[in-house]
């Protein structure tokens, strides 16, 4: 099976006055057609920048400096701005984190959904508004026709996130990238949004990349999970393998810090000590070594490469000198 999106050796640098600082250091990722990939990792590990770099939306002074990102046969990193613009929305859709600030406050939601249809697909306004109402219905908004005329501030957070999803779907993209779309929402609403995206993905056969801090939430949506640490992929495996046989010490730490139903109330959950390296101040060896309880001398000397885990699922890959040889047994 050929991948819809295949990122290889992606590096991203921030231009600082003191010189470039590397934030993304050789990421390898692939998303198959119709697959949903969960990306987890601590705040600041480069999840958002990686995804924004695909469509040419990196902030000022931040640049993709190496690697490739093939999407449907073409290298996105080599495409000119105008070609990337045409790709946005129609091939690759985005849903952002904060529904409170990601909608234009002075434009009615119907118009915001219709906007892409009118300007990208050249649809006439009445047809676009008709389609906008359908999309609102699709994302589970009651009396969608009335809601077309609402301003964002008249809707609740969950409603706004549904509107954002409707906007993301308007161009019928082949890949939908959701960047922590539920972080700002109540727990019950979070689950609803996950369900909604799963339904829509199945219905339209889209591929989905879902970025999150929350491993538990993503378990119900993702086919595969990539764990990012300090701008590199440290483990990548089908979702059940990640939960059954977490192999990288960082992944194990993340899973151990999840609460479970059998925990006694008030038990202290284990957390990973220390903080990830600052951009531009990466250790010479494994970036996780300074925080790792299993670290050996080799870990400080060289950077481990992502490699298949012997004896585990063929798609299970991990970047660790110490645990990779354990045959995936936790």
């Amino acid at each position: 099976m050929s991948a819809l999106l295949e990122i290889r050796g992606l590096t991203i640098d921030i231009e600082r006055d003191t010189g470039p600082a590397r934030v993304v250091d050789g990421i390898d990722l692939a998303v198959e057609e119709g697959e949903s990939l969960g990306i987890v990792g601590e705040s600041g590990c480069g999840k958002s920048l990686t995804m924004l770099s695909l469509v040419g939306l990196l902030p000022n002074r931040i640049r993709a400096t190496g690697g490739s990102a093939r999407f449907a046969g073409q290298d996105l990193l080599a495409l000119p701005q105008e070609a990337l613009r045409k790709l946005r929305g129609s091939q690759i859709g985005f849903i952002f984190q904060d529904p409170m600030t990601s909608l234009n406050p002075v434009m009615r939601v119907g118009e915001q959904i219709a906007e892409a249809l009118i300007h990208q697909s050249g649809m006439a306004k009445p047809a676009a508004m008709e389609r906008a109402a359908e999309l609102l219905e699709l994302v589970g908004i009651p009396s969608p026709r009335d809601r077309l005329m609402a301003y964002p501030h008249e809707l609740s957070g969950g409603m706004r996130q549904r509107v954002m999803i409707a906007i993301g779907l308007a161009g019928s993209p082949r890949l939908l990238i959701a960047d922590e779309p539920t972080t700002a929402l109540d727990v019950t609403i979070q689950a609803q949004i996950v369900d909604l995206v799963r339904d829509l993905k199945d219905r339209f056969g889209m591929s989905v990349v879902w970025i999150t801090h929350d491993l538990a939430l993503i378990a119900g949506l993702a086919d595969r999970i990539a764990v990012l640490y300090a701008g590199t992929v440290v483990e990548d495996a089908p979702v059940e393998v990640i939960f059954d046989r977490p192999t990288h010490p960082y992944t194990r730490g993340l899973l151990a810090s999840l609460p479970t139903l059998t925990d006694r109330p008030m038990t202290r959950l284990p957390s990973i000590g220390g903080t990830p390296p600052e951009p531009g101040r990466r250790p010479p060896g494994c970036p996780f070594a300074p925080r790792c309880t299993l670290a050996e001398a080799a870990c400080d000397a060289a950077v481990p490469k992502l490699a298949a885990v012997p004896g585990s699922d063929p798609r299970h890959r991990v970047a660790c000198f110490v645990t990779a040889g354990e045959g995936g047994r936790a």
Partner: protein
């Protein structure tokens, strides 16, 4: 699948964004007073020719310097012209100049400021340099320079056009006055608008909804005109309200100094200037235009403050 609750703070009808602002404005007594005064003045200016009891030019040498009376509520001037009629025509001049100058300055300021703020680069640097220069030179000096350097060429051009077409409109010196006054005032008035718009655009262009619009593949032009500029409208409306008042005072100041609208076209500024010379004998000639100018200025300030509070409710507390 169930949906989350729909929060409808206050009014859930469309347009409630501006409706809320309007409601806040209406609660502000001073702002409403300012609005009413200005509305009355606009009406008076618009319907001036049908309202004035006398022609503003007709002289009556038998009725010179009369104090206020039933026949002449504001009295008459040294040529026996009705002061009320002249004040009303002065309102026409003041509003015409203020609206045109503000419109031209706003257009220049919005276009240049938006491009500079959105795209940055050399254009932005150049624009900031020009606005710095313009704003650091005293306004009066700048207007005198612009007036002096433009008057001659415009007059010559009008003369040439007249000889060519024999159209009497090119002989009308009031038109030259207006063009010069508008032109020089607009040229000194746009930089603050450009800076305001630029600052607004700079703060808005990285907001999440702008990034979201980019992620939709919208073009820069659409993002700028539909996502960035409309969100800069609030502060701009406040600035325009203040700018109209300032333009009116400027026009009067220039006419007062003899570099604005010239007699016999009535302007509050040249009426004040005439009245000042004789005010010990005929105070009404100074008081009438000065009081009207003061009231209008205060009205604009009240309205501007009210708009500021209404459009930036978060800044209130």
């Amino acid at each position: 699948m169930t949906a989350g609750p729909i929060i409808t703070p206050g009014d859930d009808r469309p347009g409630s964004l501006w409706r809320d602002a309007w409601r806040r404005l209406r609660r502000n007594r001073l702002a409403v007073a300012g609005l009413v005064i200005l509305a009355l003045l606009v009406l008076v200016a618009a319907f001036g020719p049908w309202l004035t009891p006398y022609d503003f030019l007709s002289q009556n040498l038998d009725a010179r310097n009369l104090p206020p009376s039933m026949a002449h509520p504001f009295g008459t001037d040294d040529l026996g012209r009705d002061v009320l009629s002249r004040v009303i025509y002065g309102a026409r001049t003041a509003f015409l100049v203020a609206v045109l100058v503000t419109a031209v300055a706003l257009l220049i300021g919005v276009v240049l400021g938006a491009i500079a703020g959105f795209y940055g680069g050399a254009f932005d640097k150049g624009l900031m340099w020009v606005t710095d220069m313009t704003m650091s030179v005293p306004q009066l000096l700048l207007v005198v320079v612009i007036n002096a350097s433009l008057k001659q060429p415009i007059t010559l051009w009008m003369e040439a056009r007249y000889l060519e077409t024999l159209n009497p409109i090119y002989r009308n010196s009031a038109i030259i006055d207006f063009v010069l006054v508008f032109g020089s005032m607009a040229l000194i008035s746009w930089p603050p608008y450009a800076r305001l718009v630029r600052a607004q655009v700079l703060s808005i262009r990285n907001r999440p909804y702008v990034t979201a619009a980019r992620a939709l593949g919208l073009t820069n032009r659409i993002i700028l005109t539909r996502y960035v500029l409309p969100n800069a409208a609030g502060p701009l409306i406040v600035a325009v309200s203040a700018g109209l008042g300032t333009a009116m005072v400027l026009e009067s100041a220039f006419s007062f100094l003899g570099i604005g609208v010239n007699p016999p076209t009535p302007s509050w500024g040249n009426m004040i200037s005439d009245g000042l010379r004789v005010w010990t004998n005929y105070p009404h000639l100074l008081l009438a235009p000065a009081a009207v100018l003061a009231v209008v200025t205060v009205a604009f300030n009240f309205l501007g403050d009210g708009l500021n509070d209404a459009l930036n409710p978060k800044g209130q507390k």
